[in-house]
Each structure stands twice: as C-alpha cells, then as structure tokens.
Amino acid sequence: MEKQKKIKKELYWNPYFGGFLLGLVLILVFYISGRGIGATGGLKGTVIATVDAVAPTHAQDSPYYAKFLEDEKSPVNSWLGYETLGVIIGAFISGAVSGRLKLKVEHSPKITSRRRLIFALIGGVLFGFGSQVARGCTSGAALSGMAVLATGGFVTMLSIFGTGYVVAYFFRKNWI
C-alpha cells in the first residue's frame, strides 16, 4: 500500500487535466494582461543583456540589440523575463512535490550521454534560431497564438509538427 502511494505520487498528471489547467492559465493571462505566454522572450532578454554587458559598443551599433536597449530598463527586467523566472520556480516546485529532482542526462539506452548532449546542443541552437525567425516558439507563437485564433500561430504549429514528423525517421535512433 505504501509503495503504491509512492508510485502514484510520482505519476504524471492525466494529460487532459494538464491541458485543461494550461488552458485556464492561458485564459487568465489573456484576461489579466491581454497577452499570451512565452518562453524565448526571457531568454532573448538574457542574450541581449549579456551582449550589452560584454560588448556594449557592439550592442549599441547593431540595429537588433539597439531596438531592445532603447528603454532604460534592462531587457531581462521585462514581463517575459519575470514569467520565465516563474516557469523555472514553478517547475522546481512541481518536481520537488513529485520527487523528480535529480541531476541526470535522460537518453535512450541505445545512445551515450555524450551523443545525447551533442544533439541537445544542436537542437537548442536550431530551436533558438528558428524561434527568432518565426517571432515566437511553441508557447509564444503556437499556443498563445492559437488561443486567440491568430493565423500565425496555426501556421507555426503546423510547420513545427509537420517538419517534426518528416524528420522523425532520421532521428529515430536517438529516441526509440
């Protein structure tokens, strides 16, 4: 009995329940702030702040950084910056509650940790680049966009998942 309880604690939520709550959070954020959620925005702020700290002249010259550095405020000190911080804290709480806090590299038994990490880096670079090209990631463009029926959200979502299914074959060794 004791063991059963422990297993239950470690279980993930029913996906429909998770989706339902996520939908409520989206409604709430639109109702209160009139905008969607995002994840790359906070990271972009971090990049810009770092570039500004390391090479201020370069940051001022580049039209892209200058666009965000116009305000007096630090780019990290933004709505999305705080939201990103919240995401990390929230996930940590959830992980702590369910006992999932553990330093590890998760990978298929068929590949090494090293390979997993290299592919994670490549994937990260691609995803970061792509999210800027599309002006939003899965949460910012696809999820929040679709919640208000934005055409761009649907296009981005279809594009991400369509490509995913096309290239899934080539990456099968990494995952199955």
Binding site: Y16, S33, G34, R35, G36, G38, A39, T40, G41, K44, W79, L80, S131, R135, G136, C137, S139, G140, A141, S144
Partner: protein
C-alpha cells in the same frame, strides 16, 4: 481481470462524456444568437456624459495654465490646418476634426498622462470631437469654454467692468489684462509691449508641443507580446 476491464470501460465512458462536453461548448458558440457589439461606452453612459458640465474649462484657467507652463495639459486645436496656420493659441497642436480619430492623433488623445483641452472657434466643433472621444471611452478630454471667440472676448480684449460691479469683476479684469499682456497685446507701456511681441511668437505657434512626447504614451491598446 474483470475488475480491470470494468475500470477501463468506466474510463472510456468518462472520456466520451468529456468529449461530449467539449463539443457541446464549441457548438454552443455556434448556436448562440449573435448580438451586435460596439466599441466604446454604453449609450446610457454616453448620454450622461453628454449632459455633464465637467468637460468645460474656462478661458481664464487655460490662460493661467499657459502662462505658468503647466505640463499637465496639452491644447488641441480641432480647426482646419489653414485656420490653425493663421492663428492659434501658444503651444497648441493642430488635429483637424477629420483627422481626430486617425492613428497619429491617437497618440495625443488616447492617453492618460496629460489632460487634453480641445478648442475651436466656438464650442461646436470641439464638442463634436469631445463627444466622439468620449464615445470611445477616452477619459481626459476637456473643452475650452466658448472657444477662441470667448478667448478673444476675455483674455485678449476683456471688457471693462462697470463701476457699479463688484470688486471681483475688477480683479478678474486685471487678471485678464495681465494675461493679455503675456499673450502679446499688453497695454501699459509701449516698450514692454514691443519686447513681449518679439519674444512671444503668438503668430507662429510652436507646432510640436514641448510637453507631450507621444512616445511617453501609456498605451491602452494590447501590449506587445510574443516569445
């Protein structure tokens, strides 16, 4: 084994119910009778606002604010550009009535930082602009009472009070005289007038007000978002 099977049946039934709820809600949106929505405030509120006297600011107060360089307000001339070029109040900006609801004008009118005082020759055009703005729910619009006609009657060439009038009338008159002096039509000494005429460019009003920077605008519209 059979218990497990039962559980599975139950859970399938539950999912069917949930799917039904979802479809029901989505179909509800389609089936709900449409009703027209409108921008801005409700008719009853609009009627109440159109009745109130709170929109008026007297020419004396406007003159006082201009002289003291009060940063909390901006004068908006809603007359045509030609009329504006001929004469306007110092530091007034020109938003002709036909451009009153345009994008550029929105920066000035639809904000919550400074009061916007509208004026035209009399009150009619400015009132049209005021009513339209209030219809859209803009909160800090005001009218200069009597418009430029009243401005000339009171500030530029105030009427001398009669001797029998109370002391206050004379004080007001003096105040108006002093204000008129500021606006370049002073009266006591010639040299003083000359210098004031030189320094106070009434004829060529500053088109861009120093006080309102559109960038400062507290945007009411949807915020920037995205990832």
């Amino acid at each position: 084994m059979s218990k497990n099977y039962k559980l599975k049946r139950l859970s399938t039934r539950r999912y069917q119910m949930l799917a039904a709820i979802l479809i029901l809600l989505a179909a509800g949106l389609v089936l709900l009778p449409d009703y027209q929505k409108h921008e801005g405030i409700e008719p009853q509120l609009f009627i109440n606002k159109a009745m109130s006297n709170e929109r008026f600011i007297s020419t004396d107060i406007v003159a006082d604010k201009i002289i003291n360089k009060d940063p909390s307000f901006v004068l908006v001339d809603v007359r045509s550009e030609a009329e504006f070029a001929k004469f306007s109040l110092p530091n007034a900006i020109n938003i002709p009535l036909d451009k009153f609801l345009s994008e550029e004008a929105d920066n000035v009118i639809n904000q919550e930082i400074v009061d916007v005082v509208l004026f035209s020759n009399d009150n009619f055009m400015a009132n049209e602009a005021w009513l339209l703005g209030n219809r859209l729910g803009y909160t800090n619009l005001y009218l200069m009472k009597g418009g430029l006609n009243e401005w000339f009657n009171t500030i530029i060439s105030p009427k001398m009070p009669e001797e029998t009038m109370p002391r206050e009338a004379f004080e007001l008159y003096n105040q108006r005289k002093a204000a008129g002096l500021y606006f370049g039509v002073g009266s006591i000494e010639v040299p003083a007038v000359k210098t004031i005429v030189k320094t106070e460019p009434v004829k060529t009003p500053v088109k861009a007000p120093v006080k309102v920077v559109p960038e400062e605008k507290k945007k009411k519209s949807a915020p920037e978002g995205g990832c």
